[in-house]
C-alpha cells in the first residue's frame, strides 16, 4: 500500500479510539507505533512523549507528525497529521451539526462510565512501559515468563526525585524535564 495512505489510515484509526485526550492517548499510540508497526522503539517513543510536553500541541498530534516525518519526510508528516485530525474533525463536527439535542445526562455519560476506568488501566500500564525504558533495564513483563529484572540506578534516582517534585509542586513540564535532562547528564556522564 502507498506509504502516505498507510500513514493516514493508521493515525486516523488510532485517533478514533482516543477518548479524553492527554495521557489517555499515550497507550494507544504506543501500541500502534511501537508494538504493531515498529516505527520506533519504546525508548524513542518515551523521548517523543517528553518532547511533546515542551513543544506546542498534544502528544497524539506530535507523535503522528514525528512518525510521518521519519517514515516519509514532509509529505508523510502531512499525511499522518491529517489522519490524526480526521476523527476529531468528523465526529465533533457531526456532533455539532446533528446532535443538537444531546443532553447533559445522556447515554454518552453512561458509555464513558465504562470506558474511563479501562483508559485509566491502560495509562497505568503505560507507566510500566515508560519505566521499562528508564528505571528498569529489562521489561517488567518478562517477570511473567519467570525472568529477572535489572534496575538502572541513574534512572531510578531521577524517577524518585521527579515523582516527589511533580507530586508536591507540579512545576511546568519544561522545568521538570530540563532538570531531569541535566541530572541525566550529570549522573550518566557525557
Amino acid at each position: 500500500m502507498n506509504v502516505l495512505l498507510q500513514l493516514y489510515l493508521i493515525f486516523a484509526k488510532t485517533a478514533i479510539l482516543t477518548f479524553g485526550g492527554g495521557y489517555a492517548m499515550i497507550p494507544l499510540f504506543r501500541d500502534e507505533i511501537v508494538v504493531k508497526h515498529a516505527f520506533m522503539d519504546g525508548a524513542e517513543f518515551a523521548n517523543l512523549v517528553a518532547l511533546a510536553q515542551v513543544t506546542p500541541g498534544p502528544i497524539g498530534l506530535n507523535s503522528a507528525t514525528y512518525v510521518g516525518m521519519s517514515q516519509a519526510g514532509i509529505p508523510g508528516a502531512i499525511a499522518a497529521t491529517l489522519g490524526v485530525m480526521t476523527p476529531a474533525f468528523v465526529t465533533t463536527l457531526a456532533a455539532a451539526i446533528f446532535l443538537s439535542r444531546v443532553s447533559r445526562s445522556g447515554w454518552l455519560k453512561d458509555l464513558l462510565r465504562g470506558i474511563r476506568p479501562c483508559v485509566l488501566g491502560v495509562i497505568a500500564a503505560a507507566v510500566v512501559f515508560f519505566a521499562d525504558t528508564s528505571v528498569f533495564t529489562s521489561p517488567v513483563s518478562s517477570l511473567v515468563q519467570g525472568g529477572t529484572i535489572g534496575v538502572s540506578s541513574t534512572g531510578l534516582a531521577i524517577f524518585v526525585c521527579a515523582l516527589i517534585v511533580e507530586w508536591r509542586w507540579k512545576p511546568a513540564p519544561l522545568w521538570l524535564l530540563a532538570g531531569s535532562a541535566l541530572a541525566g547528564i550529570l549522573l550518566g556522564g557525557w
Binding site: I16, L17, T18, F19, G20, G21, L28, D31, A46, A50, P56, G57, P58, L61, N62, Y66, M69, T81, V84, P87, F89, T91, A95, A96, I97, R101, V102, R104, D110, L111, R113, G114, I115, R116, P117, C118, V119, L120, I123, A124, A125, F129, S134, V140, S141, V144, T154, G155, V160, A162, W167, P173, L177, A181, L182, G184, I185, G188, G189, W190
Partner: protein, 196 residues
C-alpha cells in the same frame, strides 16, 4: 433538558474568520503540551477579552470535547470554530490549531537524526524518560481519584492494567471492553426509566 450551548445554531457574525484562525494559531503555539493546557488561555482570550463565548459555554465545550473521540485540541477548535463561524470556522480553526505543533515537530525530527550517537544527549533523554514516567504516574493517581468510585471501575481498571502491562494485550481490546460495559450501563438506565 435544553440543548448544549455550543451545539446551538452558530452565531455567524460573532467574529471575523481570519481573526478566529489567527487566535487558534497563536493559542496552540504558546500552549506547550496542548489539550487541557489550552483551556486557561482560551478562557482568557475568547471569554474575557473578546466576549465571543460565555463561561458556561466554555465549561460545556470542555465537557463535550472530552466525551468525543479524537485529539482534544482539534476537538476544541472544531466546536469553538463551529459555534462562532459555522463549518468554515470549524475548518479554519482546526487547521490553524495544528500549524504550530506541526512545524515544531518537523524541526525536532530533522534535528534529532543529526544528533544520534551523542552520549550526553542519550543520558539527558534517559533522565527525561524517567521524569515522564513520574509525570504519568502522578497524573494516573490523580485521575484515579475521580474514576475509581465503584467496584466495577476498580475491576475494569485493574483488568486493563494487568492485561496490557503484563500480558501485552492490545490496548484497543481493553477500550472496547470498557465500551461494552458502557453499553450495559446504558441498557440498565433505559430499563430503569421504563419501570418508572
Amino acid at each position: 433538558m435544553p440543548p448544549l450551548f455550543c451545539f446551538q445554531v452558530p452565531a455567524m457574525n460573532a467574529c471575523k474568520l481570519h481573526s478566529l484562525a489567527w487566535k487558534f494559531f497563536w493559542i496552540s503555539a504558546v500552549t506547550l503540551g496542548g489539550g487541557m493546557a489550552m483551556v486557561p488561555v482560551m478562557q482568557r482570550e475568547f471569554v474575557e477579552k473578546q466576549g465571543w463565548l460565555t463561561d458556561d459555554e466554555m465549561v460545556e465545550i470542555i465537557a463535550v470535547t472530552h466525551s468525543l473521540p479524537g485529539v482534544i485540541a482539534v476537538n476544541m477548535a472544531v466546536v469553538v470554530g463551529y459555534r462562532l463561524r459555522g463549518v468554515a470556522g470549524a475548518v479554519a480553526s482546526a487547521f490553524s490549531a495544528v500549524l504550530a505543533p506541526f512545524a515544531a515537530i518537523v524541526f525536532v525530527a530533522a534535528g534529532r537524526s543529526a544528533m544520534t550517537g551523542c552520549a550526553a544527549l542519550d543520558n539527558a533523554f534517559l533522565g527525561v524518560r524517567a521524569a515522564v514516567t513520574a509525570m504519568i504516574l502522578v497524573s494516573a493517581v490523580k485521575l484515579g481519584k475521580g474514576i475509581l468510585v465503584s467496584p466495577v471501575a476498580w475491576a475494569l481498571a485493574s483488568t486493563g492494567f494487568v492485561a496490557c502491562a503484563l500480558f501485552g494485550v492490545d490496548v484497543t481490546l481493553v477500550i472496547l471492553l470498557g465500551a461494552l460495559v458502557g453499553i450495559a450501563y446504558i441498557a440498565c438506565a433505559a430499563v430503569k426509566r421504563r419501570r418508572e
